[in-house]
Symmetry: C2
Subunit: 463 residues, 2 copies
């Protein structure tokens, strides 16, 4: 650090606040050598140029809400937080785009869009804390991917600082732009290992004019799949969420505060379907017609349709109850996997059985964004002892590997899932990732060791 | 070539057919030294391994319908056509995906989806001839990007052979998969310079149950922009096309065979709006309500709404008439640019004026996928003399540069637009593209000199 420019040193904050020593992963905190809080892209470029020259390791930080350790500082390295680079720069209504600084919290963006009758569709629980730069760097997903796609699908333009301090600025607002390699794709989902995103042009949608939802009980997974096909056809592009909860999840959710079952009786599967339309009358009628057809076909055992937006909220409370499970279950492990939609119940059954068999006393429960092929699962051994993390992860990920699924649907790899990355990606893919990393960051100074193993070069190589 | 394996030599076709000597660009044909037509991914890998070892230049070919020269052979190099690697491998209805060989014609894929009540949304004029591998390699767009996105948005999984013969197989069917770098993004839109796509997993949508369209006349570009905002809000995600035609285009289209004006009178702008819904009754009523509101707001001067699918087809005939303009106009230059939606008419005016001023006798006409920010324009000097290509391109692209637009919205760069790439991309971006190319193809053997200038290394370096 001694070789950094004195002007840059002045940007460093000392002592480093507690919050910048970790993200939301369960890893131990790690203090960085220094914390930089640049105000401009030029500041970021100057810091990276100096870091590149001196071989200093830099870990970029956004809202620090990541669950995989991607923003956790590295011993001996500095942290670079985007927390001062916030705010909406421009809303272009004709192009339906918003240009923002990367440190802007997601919720600020959502509200700025809403104020103009527009909609930024990315949404997740940490919306008040997470930063859009982090959302894009981790290719965040969330509840409405089935309709609007992941963060990747919402990025039109980007400014990014490369590990050597080069600034790439392409604040493109156009949906169609085939002028050479689409470089921004490299940085989306790279978890801050290839560059530091400083500005973004985001794609907006029209603000939905009407939202309807239903909670439905089904007797079999086949019935759930039929329902998904029917929802895709009957609701078309209005379909904005298709969430499935297994009874093991549902029964815990019913014990969470403020959650009441909209359904009488017990079912093998509980499905939450949401439709976002433009017109209360037209789209309400469409939703009702769709549900009636499902009943007539005998696909549903029981169902409740929202009569108001507060019903929609209440339905989501069953799905969002997972956030309160810590109080109900005590310490537990949370997983985020994806696989072929058709095999999800088979996976849940296999995982439940093998966890109970191979990890003494282990319970588990299942729920997720089934329309996207994304399953969440919680696993825990009741009691006060430390959770057998490695044993549980082994079972969860080994079955995913056997199913040809993904060990991370939306939470990324960071540090905590890196040991299992080879379960979902081939040696050839991992080798190409390393080749890309080396091409963009030959000195291995930007968030090294995250996502893929790119060992820190020896000190003498880093000058 | 002498050092290729004899078994591979047997795969080569001699003599090379006329069609494999060029694509649909206006460049002169170039015969490759040999033409390979592999049947399997292993064949492709073996050819690339041999080519890498011997330093042989390889140009991949799909349906050869590209307009920018990306698939045109290179002097002294071989061509590798995917024409024998065709067919649908798998349709997964629960996941709503289709797995195909890269040489499969687009239209075959569209029909295979339709047979199962599903929809592959990519569509363009060359559908019967173009291959999906080429569509993805050029990130093709087409008519319904405003709703479904570009080819990039329709690719979930990919198998690709790298320049050194390494096979990367990731036939992912999941919408959410954040396991390290999303490598497939590298190859989408890279025009065959980074790898040869052999298989693809494509995202399908439900087959639209109801299609409605209208042709509307507007008095000003502001009215067109108001119409676009109203269409986004009023039709929501049903909005599947928003095409605008300037009078110079419209008046030529009206002279094309089989095209009749659905509107009486003359207008400053002609707009074609299409809506794809799920239900004839519900979505027809919505479309009518939307049009009525436009009339009431005084945004439209005149309009015609489709009463049947044959009306929809007839409306599209006005937009598709461009394919017949060669007979009407004689030789002409076609451009495909994109820019901020709000400034398109300003661009059209500037371009029309400067072409008339700087290129003696030059006429031009304007139309495009305005909802996507994509403008097409035709320019020509009437008569039998050769078109002043360089002079016309200079005007078209210089104004695009001044507008901060893109010199290629959907047709790619290939050879013909390479001289102008710096008009849309910065030196830093071009340098990073070259770095990526060098990282994936260190010997510069795969489609070298396309998209970016990566000069062929000297022969002694290529062994």
């Amino acid at each position: 650090m001694a070789r950094l420019d004195p002007a840059l040193q002045a940007l460093a904050l000392d002592p480093v606040p507690e919050r910048n020593r970790n993200d939301w992963s369960s890893l131990d905190p790690q203090s960085p050598v220094a914390l930089f809080r640049p105000r401009t892209t030029e500041d970021v470029a100057a810091i990276m140029t100096a870091a590149h020259t001196t071989g200093t390791v830099v870990v970029p930080q956004g809202g620090l809400t990541g669950l995989s350790g991607g923003a956790r500082p590295i011993e001996g390295g500095v942290a670079l937080s985007l927390e001062r680079m916030t705010g909406v720069i421009d809303v272009d209504e004709a192009a339906s785009t918003m240009t923002v600084w990367a440190g802007t919290p997601l919720e600020v963006i959502q509200k700025a869009a809403e104020e103009r009758g527009l909609y930024f569709s990315l949404d997740l629980g940490a919306r008040g804390s997470c930063a859009i730069g982090g959302n894009v760097s981790t290719n965040a997903g969330g509840n409405r991917v089935i309709r609007y796609g992941m963060a990747r699908d919402l990025v039109l333009g980007m400014e990014v600082v490369l590990p050597d301090g080069t600034v790439l600025t392409n604040l493109n607002k156009m949906m169609k732009n085939n002028t050479g390699y689409d470089l921004k794709q490299l940085f989306i989902g790279a978890e801050g290992t290839l560059g530091i995103i400083t500005r973004l042009v985001l794609k907006l949608h029209p603000l939905p004019g009407a939202t309807h939802a239903a909670v439905l009980g089904a007797a079999s997974y086949d019935a759930v799949l039929n329902m998904l096909t029917a929802a895709r056809r009957g609701l078309g592009p209005n379909l904005s969420a298709f969430e499935v909860m297994w009874p093991d999840y549902w029964n815990i959710a019913m014990r969470a505060e403020g959650v009441r079952s909209p359904l009488a009786g017990e079912h093998a599967f509980y499905v939450l379907i949401e439709s976002q339309g433009t017109d209360e009358g037209i789209d309400g009628a469409r939703f009702e017609k769709f549900l009636e057809a499902l009943f007539e076909q005998g696909v549903i055992e029981d169902g409740a349709m929202s009569q108001s937006l507060s019903d929609v909220k209440a339905f989501w409370a069953t799905r969002d109850a997972a956030a309160e499970f810590k109080a109900l279950l005590g310490p537990h492990m949370a997983y985020d996997v994806s696989m072929s939609v058709g095999r999800m119940d088979e996976y849940a059954q296999a995982c439940r059985t093998r966890l109970a068999r191979d990890v003494p006393g282990c319970l588990s429960c299942y729920y997720g964004h089934i329309g996207d092929g994304n399953l969440h699962l919680l696993a825990w051994v009741p009691g006060d002892a430390a959770q057998p993390q490695a044993e549980i992860s082994k079972v969860v990920y080994e079955i995913i590997r056997d199913f040809g699924g993904s060990i991370s649907a939306e939470h990324g790899i960071g540090l905590t899932k890196k040991p299992y990355l080879s379960y979902s990606r081939s040696p050839e893919e991992l080798a190409l990732m390393a080749r890309i990393k080396a091409a963009l960051d030959p000195k291995g100074i930007l968030n090294p060791g995250k996502v893929i193993d790119a060992p820190l070069p020896a000190t003498e190589d880093r000058t």
